[in-house]
Symmetry: C2
């Protein structure tokens, strides 16, 4: 029974891995938003007790991992592989999380698409018989992102109307070849799409074309329509990017309708929380998936979820050098039996 | 016929992917070293005709990819997946290489271990039936690395005795489920090891313990000894790191002997080229593998090669925050039939 390569860029898992456990951690602002009840742990202290925001990010990842392991009744030594990454330069949030853990570890860089990329690769590794239990993990932190990508917080820079707010959060999923109630059944690997957008404060617009290409390939490769899913979520297109994605689909005669939403819209109340176009960051889709969404699946409220991580693959330097913004979107199908 | 999880962290590929084609590109200094004849293309111009060193890195990657595709008689549309990364913040070298190519792409961050990490994941994807042809690609550039990790070149900073010289180079391998003469038969996934070294100018010492752990696991998991290989190479431990690795093995009664070498030692003449402890960077192991080593395998001079990518997972910021240096080493076995 071999997994099948489907169509242009998709995979049908012959032996779908199960979601053994998941956990989410989030920050103060996230704990004041509409999803406040869905995180496993939130902290009023944005440093999570650490001396720097970067170390705080590692602390969040470690906490999400520990909580997921506890729920699974596993220890680190039971993980055959970890797939993880984050937004920090050289992905230090992730490397410091896994150091001296003894867990075979693959470092990823997919910007804010990392939760979907890690789930996709972990699914391949479990379904292919390479691993029994595999970890998918990622995080982002508002304060570490702001100072790396934009301005020092103390500078008090103004945010443009299309700006998004990097989520302080982490999410961990443990996939397994053991039986379970939720499985990853399909996936579509994204290609890198650059539509020529150069405004680093408008990442929703930069990422929407990549999301469109991946979703369209997914529907084509499996002969599916949006109505085949209970919910389709993108990671962090935000208010504007989501609107653009809806528009791109309308142009080809497909209405995403009420079945479509975006983690960056779900996690904050954009108006009252002053986050402009919504949430963003690896931790946005990760903490929403590993909190609200998988919770709804476990309770049977959602049966079929298409989870689409979206990432803007720019750097401050590429922007300074006048480059436009390449983007990627990876999609995985989660099904509740 | 399913691939087997072996021992602690290893994989035996039931359907070993073949090396369909490979190509290497290198810079001026590399073209003056002992491996000058083995690269497919070298350039006297460190900008490779581009306006910045970062864009030069993308140009090198694109060239290596084009050359490998030409040799394979393939086009980009024939690649079912690409696994790639580099040392630049947010891995922009790689993202810009693949943008608008239409190739399903996984971004990786494994620091200088990326060539082995990408080969390992590409092997899993081909052997698992997820892909027919998969690309493994990486690069580094002396000038883009120096200004990102250390000092602006114009500053003329002094180099410490244990420093290494980041190789300007790129390497591409296309793996396939088609028949071939060289196959990836085994792999060992590295875990992240931090031995407490804090000197960012002594990465050989920081990485040697990770290489030791992965190599030891490889030998244990497959009941192999160094003498089972014609050549064992690490990516960029350099003169000091290699010596430490030999010492660590001696302590457990294993002599690596003359079958062991390091790409960072092979690529430069350390004395006459003034590179202190040798070469380093993703492009070091990539250009040596995709030039000298695979060339020797194709000619039948090497039958069994253990290729071990080594990466130091630090960032300038983690060093400033007083952290020690986590490191990783991934290993793949290449066999000539």
């Amino acid at each position: 029974m071999e997994s099948t390569h489907r169509g242009k860029q998709s995979i049908l898992f012959a032996a779908p891995p199960s979601v053994l456990a998941y956990a989410s951690v989030a920050g103060k602002k996230e704990s004041q938003g509409p999803l406040r009840e869905t995180f496993d742990l939130t902290s009023e202290d944005t440093t999570f007790g650490e001396k720097s925001w970067e170390k705080a990010e590692t602390r969040m990842q470690k906490t999400a991992l520990e909580l997921a392991l506890q729920k699974a009744g596993l220890q680190e030594k039971d993980l055959d592989a970890a797939f993880l990454g984050d937004l920090l330069n050289q992905c230090i949030g992730s490397s410091f999380t896994m150091r001296n853990s003894g867990v075979p570890t693959f470092g990823l860089y997919g910007a804010c698409s990392t939760m979907a990329e890690s789930l996709l690769l972990a699914s391949m590794s479990v379904s292919g018989g390479y691993c029994r239990n595999a970890l998918a993990l990622t995080s982002s932190h508002f304060a570490s992102s702001e100072r790396q990508y934009r301005f020092p917080l103390g500078y008090g820079g103004q945010r443009t109307p299309t700006a998004q707010w990097t989520v302080t959060g982490a999410g961990a999923v443990i996939l397994s070849n053991a039986p379970g109630d939720i499985h990853i059944t399909k996936a579509t690997i994204g290609s890198i799409v650059d539509a020529g957008i150069k405004d680093a404060n408008n990442m929703g617009a930069a990422m929407a074309p990549a999301a469109f290409e991946t979703l369209r390939a997914h529907f084509d490769d499996f002969s599916l329509a949006p109505t085949d899913y209970d919910l389709i979520v993108t990671g962090d297109l935000g208010l504007l990017g989501s609107q653009i994605l809806r528009g791109l689909f309308s142009q080809v005669g497909v209405e995403l309708g009420t079945r479509y939403n975006d983690c960056g819209i779900l996690i904050f109340d954009a108006q009252s929380q002053d986050v402009h176009c919504g949430g963003s960051g690896c931790g946005c889709s990760a903490s929403v998936l590993c909190g609200a969404l998988l919770g709804r699946m476990r309770r049977g409220e959602l049966k079929r979820l298409l989870f689409c991580g979206t990432g803007a693959l720019l750097s401050p330097l590429s922007t300074q050098q006048g480059e436009s913004i390449p983007a990627v979107c990876h999609a995985v199908t989660l099904e509740r039996s």
